[in-house]
């Protein structure tokens, strides 16, 4: 990277995240004046316009790609209309040990004086919690499931190529046509549609306004700039910002700035999960790159510099501050914008191009926390592409992660997408499959699968609190077969998925009615033609996911019950439950026996893997196909972010020998240390799950660097990945860091600040994750040989 990028990158690394209250103050001012004067979509659109007209415009020294969501880099705004942080929340954010955000004392005062009094009781969170049934709240606080929308808006979506072909002025013209076509004679929804469309029109103007304000700012700085080189850069920035996003970009620079303005628009109007994401950036940029190289207006180094400036922008935007359970399930600064590289085009052809390799170089040079990145690996992509990615992975950043593009397409087609839309899709967030630019695929919360077994083993009582929160599925001591305990588990799963689902419908409706996202609607098909908001079913496809967590821990626990209690009778149910309830105190020999003498998931051993498949199928059947509020369906995926740590913390000891409070297995990975037959056996076990019935699975593997040395190591890993993907699996990610290095970092964090490791679906700075998570990553089986 050149000196400019080096300085911008370092500045981004050195700046500690902070809270910017500017958005909250501007929004509160606007709402105080205007609440009740407009229909809700127009109120939100006008409020957004107010933000764009008044927010601080920041252009930093040496920047080429411009625009910050806060008033300065790393300053994350708050969204009081969604969640109204209390003074305590702000103080905790400022002072907590992990993922803290600096909050200035005078800002806390302003918040307490101006923001909190207006939003308390009015924020969407406050309204929704009043509507939720008691059984939902009980399950939520017991750690049975989490709720993604308790502090953040839905979103979970990704852009397609449309913003590179059309400007806001084109979208405004489409909106005008849609309004023109409204049928007030026979469509009772016509007035509502007009409101939504007018809201979209207003925010399109707001986006142009914000870009123009950047142009003015650049011009203003240029006027007093003494360095002629920088002056001409600033003039170029002004020219770019005057042209995009009003119009479709004409060159590589404008294409990147277009994306960044769209990104800012999406993440400013709401605090949607997973920010926003350009999706297949290499597909989108390829024509601009080729054209620029051909006509001599662009060279590879300039393209790389511009991309690296964009990378800094992503890294400047930590996730909006999270508190409480949401901070537990997603304890990271990462906001999960996850750039896709490779895969196939809509016609099914190999999409790997020069920009794909350029992006891999950028990722390697920058190795920043954000943006996340992945390769979509199709059987049509050359090995050279995979190997280029593996050489980056080998450095130990934990990225890019690797997805099976062919499986992702098949998953999306199974869910009802056209094959073209599916091929233009990919994965976002951690591992979630979606049709980019056309789908609202909303993650709604994690579901604690092992906790259901804990309840079944205690006749519905949560041993942590002694409360009867589950169904009375019978005294397990009287069960005479494995099928009975499995049946009790299934009953608890169905019961709590029902409760989760009832809560979800409330969240979905409230967001549709109160938290319109007109800007996101503009860039998502078919919100304009339907005259419907993104959060109300405007997208072409509308999916809701509930993410299953802990299938490895669940499988091993059931395997203990099957093999020791029911098959060989070497242990009675009462003995086992008593030992669990005492956290195996004084019974280490039993715990060791359960850990070591039980068929366990991850060893290509059908005795355990068949149980895993049965659990998976049960969970799938329980969730699959339920209708959501937006006209789409529920599906499952299997990923945890950091929720396996939280879910483990709310559980006592389990039959698999896991002690009380210890993290559960993550994703579809085996329990930490349970796999003893090497990586091929892990892959074989994991592939017995029918990944194509999910919208994403997450498999984490850790290798010592030695194993991946030289071209032999790369060749071996290439074969392993191709083999795993040949079995229709979804995703794999590799951590290539020695346990020794991690221990050193734990002992001496100050000298290992930049150490990035793969957590679960994303990478994070090792020193920024909790001690428990650090321990878990160290202990995760370090495969020493194939």
């Amino acid at each position: 990277m050149n000196d400019r990028v080096q300085r911008l990158r370092q500045q981004s690394l050195d700046t500690h995240p902070s809270v910017s209250i500017e958005r909250a103050v501007l929004l509160t001012d606007f709402y105080r004046e205007n609440i009740g004067r407009y229909p809700q979509p127009l109120l939100r659109a006008k409020a957004y316009h107010h933000l764009c007209a008044n927010k601080t415009v920041y252009i930093g020294d040496e920047e080429l790609i411009v625009g910050e969501r806060g008033h300065e880099p790393k300053a994350a705004p708050t969204y009081p209309e969604i969640i109204c942080h209390t003074v305590d929340d702000l103080r905790i954010l400022d002072s907590r040990a992990m993922t803290s955000y600096r909050v200035a004392a005078e800002d806390i005062e302003t918040y307490e004086r101006d923001v909190i009094p207006f939003w308390q009781g009015r924020s969407l969170r406050d309204q929704i919690f009043d509507l939720l049934p008691e059984e939902w709240r009980q399950a939520f606080s017991a750690g049975i499931f989490t709720e993604f929308m308790e502090q953040r808006a839905p979103g979970h979506t990704v852009g397609d190529g449309k913003i590179f072909a059309k400007g806001m002025l084109n979208f405004k013209a489409e909106i005008a046509v849609a309004i023109e076509d409204l049928d007030f004679e026979s469509d009772p929804e016509a007035n509502a549609r007009r409101d939504q469309l007018e809201a979209m029109d207003i925010v399109a103007d707001a986006a142009i306004l914000l870009a123009n304000r950047h142009a003015e700012k650049a011009q203003e700085i240029a006027a007093s700039e003494t360095d002629p080189k920088r002056r001409s850069e600033l003039e170029r920035i002004a020219e770019v910002c005057r042209y995009v996003p009003a119009n479709a970009p004409r060159d590589f620079w404008e294409a990147l700035q277009t994306y960044w303005f769209v990104h800012l628009g999406v993440i400013t109007e709401l605090n949607g999960w997973d920010a926003y994401n350009p999706g297949h950036l290499d597909h989108h940029l390829d024509p601009f790159f080729e054209r620029g190289i051909a006509d001599g207006s662009l060279d590879r180094e300039t393209a790389k510099e511009l991309l690296e400036c964009l990378w800094v922008k992503f890294n400047n935007h930590p996730a909006p501050p999270k508190v409480g359970v949401t901070a537990e399930e997603s304890g990271t600064y990462t906001d999960f914008a996850n750039i896709n590289i490779g895969g196939v085009r809509s016609d099914g052809s190999d999409a790997v191009n020069d920009v794909s390799y350029l992006l891999l170089e950028v990722i390697d040079e920058m190795h920043l926390l954000q943006p996340s990145n992945n390769i979509q690996l199709s059987r049509k992509n050359p090995d050279r592409f995979l190997q280029a990615a593996l050489r980056v992975i080998r450095k130990g950043y934990g990225f890019p992660s690797i997805f099976n593009s062919d499986a992702v397409v098949e998953e999306l087609v199974r869910q009802g997408k056209t094959v073209e839309d599916a091929r233009e899709g990919g994965t976002s967030g951690c591992v979630e499959a979606g049709a980019f630019g056309k789908e609202a695929f909303i993650l709604t919360g994690y579901f604690n699968l092992p906790k259901m077994l804990e309840l079944a083993l205690h006749n519905g009582v949560d041993p942590r609190t002694g409360e009867q929160i589950g169904l009375r599925t019978g005294d397990p001591a009287e069960f005479s077969s494995f099928d009975e305990i499995f049946g009790a588990w299934r009953t608890q799963v169905r019961h709590f998925v029902d409760i989760k689902y009832k809560g979800n419908l409330i969240f979905e409706r409230m967001f549709a009615d109160w938290a319109q996202a007109p800007f996101l609607s503009i860039v998502t098909d078919d919100c304009i033609s339907k005259g419907r908001d993104y959060n109300a079913g405007g997208a072409r496809y509308n999916t809701s996911y509930i993410q299953g967590v802990g299938i490895g821990s669940l499988t091993d626990s059931l395997s203990v019950l099957k093999h020791h209690v029911f098959d060989d009778g070497s242990l009675t149910m009462s003995e086992l439950i008593e030992a669990m309830d005492n956290d195996f105190g004084g019974n280490e020999a039993l715990r060791q026996r359960l850990l070591n003498k039980t068929p366990r998931y991850g060893n290509d051993d059908d005795r355990a893997d068949n149980i895993m498949v049965r659990c998976f199928e049960t969970y799938f059947e329980t969730v699959e196909g339920r209708p959501n509020f937006r006209g789409g369906e529920y599906h499952i995926n299997m990923l945890p972010t950091t929720c396996h740590v939280y879910f483990g913390a709310v559980m006592g000891a389990m039959p698999d020998g896991r002690g009380a409070g210890i993290p559960l297995s993550e994703g579809i990975s085996p329990v930490q240390g349970a796999d003893r037959q090497g990586p091929t056996a892990v892959f074989k076990s994991a592939a017995k799950m029918d990944h194509l019935k999910t919208g994403g699975t997450l498999l984490n593997m850790k290798f010592s660097p030695r194993l991946l040395e030289g071209s032999t190591g790369i060749d071996m890993l290439t074969s392993l990945v191709r083999g795993y993907f040949g079995m229709d699996s979804h995703h794999v990610q590799f951590n290539v860091v020695s346990a020794e290095t991690l221990r050193e970092a734990q002992a001496d964090p100050s000298n290992h600040r930049n150490l990035i490791v793969r957590v679960a679906g994303y990478s994070d700075y090792f020193c920024d994750i909790s001690r428990e998570l650090q321990e878990e990553i160290i202990e995760r089986t370090e495969h020493e040989g194939f």
Binding site: Q592, T680, F683, R722
Partner: protein, 237 residues
């Protein structure tokens, strides 16, 4: 003391009383004890090998029978090789070559590839470090070279034993004189067996031999390649 190796905690294990029944392994809850080796039927073993077929397919890989010395169980080995062949699994046998001629040739016919160790050209030196002289080994290799089996030669370079100029020259001359030219791999001696030695309760003292550097390997490879041989440093082509 109970029958077999199982003994109460804190007592030392008495190797002389061990009947290899494995009851101690079964009894240890922490899996601290491990039984090396087990009985397999041909089908059981090949079923186990076939579990990794998907990865053999993507890597162009297969099964390597090594040891110890796989020809010590030549009959079983041959059955396994044929069963693998029947299931289209690629097979390689890694041998020191010390086996009756007919046995070795039969194995070579059943396997897809033979990896053949040449440790020293001098029979006395060979005998002193391996316990056997090398005449049969060299004769066997001549016979293999007369056959149409695929054979790769492996020279484990052991500093102070076989890395002298004279031995390398002699090796080159011998290989050049064979009926066919075989690929030669020069491998660095490694200390992986030290762990095994300690588990065998120092029945053989630690070798103390150092792993040779890349430079030494390249020098030997260079010398050998002057004998019209294709020489590769390391284990993979």
């Amino acid at each position: 003391m109970k029958e077999g190796g199982a003994v109460p905690a804190r007592q030392l294990w008495d190797r002389s009383a061990c009947t290899r029944c494995g009851s101690c392994v079964e009894a240890c809850p922490a899996d601290a004890r491990e039984l090396a080796g087990r009985d397999w039927s041909v089908n059981e073993l090949v079923d186990e090998l076939e579990r990794d077929r998907v990865f053999f397919d993507t890597s162009g890989g297969g099964v390597t029978f090594s040891g110890g010395e796989p020809l010590a169980q030549a009959g079983f080995l041959n059955h396994c090789l044929r069963e693998c062949g029947r299931r289209s699994l690629h097979t390689t046998v890694d041998t020191c070559g010390l086996a009756p001629r007919d046995t070795l040739l039969a194995i070579a016919r059943s396997a897809d590839l033979l990896l053949y160790d040449l440790k020293h050209m001098d029979p006395v030196r060979h005998l002193s470090k391996t316990g056997a002289d090398n005449r049969l080994i060299l004769d066997n290799l001549r016979a293999l070279s007369e056959s149409d089996s695929d054979v790769w030669i492996r020279l484990p370079l052991i500093p102070g034993f076989n890395d002298g100029e004279a031995n390398i020259e002699a090796t080159g001359v011998f290989l050049e004189g064979l009926r066919r030219r075989h690929r030669v791999f020069v491998l660095p001696y490694h200390g992986i067996a030290n762990g095994k030695r300690s588990r065998l309760e120092n029945s053989i003292a630690e070798s103390g031999v150092k792993t040779p550097g890349l430079g030494a390997l390249a020098e030997v490879a260079e010398r050998l390649s002057k004998h019209n041989l294709e020489v590769i440093v390391g284990g993979s082509p």
